[in-house]
Symmetry: C2
Subunit: 214 residues, 2 copies
């Protein structure tokens, strides 16, 4: 159980989702949480600004420690709760290298936190297509049923999965990206991911098709 933790979040925001998956994986259910609306600009409310002067979601607090960056919060949770729940940073140097490498790779080209994903997706179509081809090749090399850092689910999957799910939500072709589709299909059944699935995606299972031609 989560003691003295607060999460302010928005539905369907990959950075928020990352933190929620990490909390589930570390058996930290039951934290205080509040779902805020980007549309109503609630991420710029005083409540958020008080904890997070940048006015972004997620906003996360554990005791007196505020860790608002989604990657930072995931690393922090793994570090503070090493022996609780699932281990998210593998021991072997090779798997560890892959975990770190893939956990941060998306920052180079994808959705800046606090920015609406549709505009970001539209802006970066070419970069996105080039990047997705690299990932297809990478997943193909790993083989069927693999996670991003090897045989086990890791922090790399925590941070990357919400973005992959968002791509398919926006219509990415499962035919043109079969490896990513298989990865998506495998991970979406994982309990931590099901438990944290964006509520507005549950209400409206059909997303836009912005990415169908990529």
């Amino acid at each position: 159980m989560a003691q003295d933790m607060t999460l302010l979040w928005g539905s369907g925001s990959p950075p928020c989702w990352r933190v929620m998956i990490a909390l589930e994986e570390k058996n930290l259910q039951g934290y205080d949480q509040k779902l805020l609306s980007f549309e109503k600009m609630e991420h710029k409310s005083q409540e958020v600004i008080d904890m997070n002067p940048r006015g972004q979601l997620p906003t996360f607090k554990h005791g007196d420690n505020i860790v608002n960056e989604s990657y930072a919060a995931c690393f922090y949770l793994e570090s503070q709760f090493k022996s609780q729940g699932n281990k998210l940073i593998p021991e072997s140097p090779t798997e560890q290298a892959l975990t770190y490498q893939h956990a941060v790779i998306y920052y180079n080209w994808f959705v800046p936190e606090g920015e609406r994903h549709d505009s970001a997706l539209k802006r970066n179509r070419e970069t996105l297509a080039a990047e997705l081809k690299l990932w297809e090749g990478y997943l193909q090399k790993l083989g069927s049923g693999a996670h991003l850092a090897g045989p086990h689910f890791s922090l790399a999957d925590v941070t990357v999965f919400p973005t992959v799910a968002t791509l398919f939500r926006f219509g990415l072709s499962t035919e043109r990206y079969p490896q990513l589709a298989e990865y998506y299909s495998l991970l979406k059944e994982r309990p931590s991911i099901k438990a944290s699935w964006p509520p507005h995606w549950l209400e409206n299972p059909q997303g836009q098709d912005t990415l169908k031609d990529i």
Copy 2:
């Protein structure tokens, strides 16, 4: 000493500099290294592409493990060489939270890897000014002589310092940003930072003044 490590890097690139500071802090001098030129597009050479299909610097390899993202490489080095050189992730939960939070914060708004910093700096002037004001306030609260996560130098400083140095290289006003100037002035004397100072900055100590009015 560094065994079986290779770094391909570019002078004055904050992401490359991060990895070099981390290597110094962990007493991993003597690695294989090669200085490449962005101007001559050497970061798109076959040698780089073979290790890093994105054609970006830094490109870093340890044994068979390739970790090209600068943040990933810093975390990986700390993880693999925990008890060697200086400890870069503090033990206390509060300092740890600050380390993670500040180590990744810059990704939100600053220089994407592989992009020339001057163009990125021009594009983001307003965001940059707003962000720098937050940092001034933050450093003021910490008080004189502090590092980013508390009393000790940490991975937060490793990842943030090259960006701060770049800001001043591009003419940021030490009068308008006195806290950042003090932080810069304190850290630039640190051995790991002096040892890895960009060679072309040594040759041409005077940078451009792109940021003087921010």
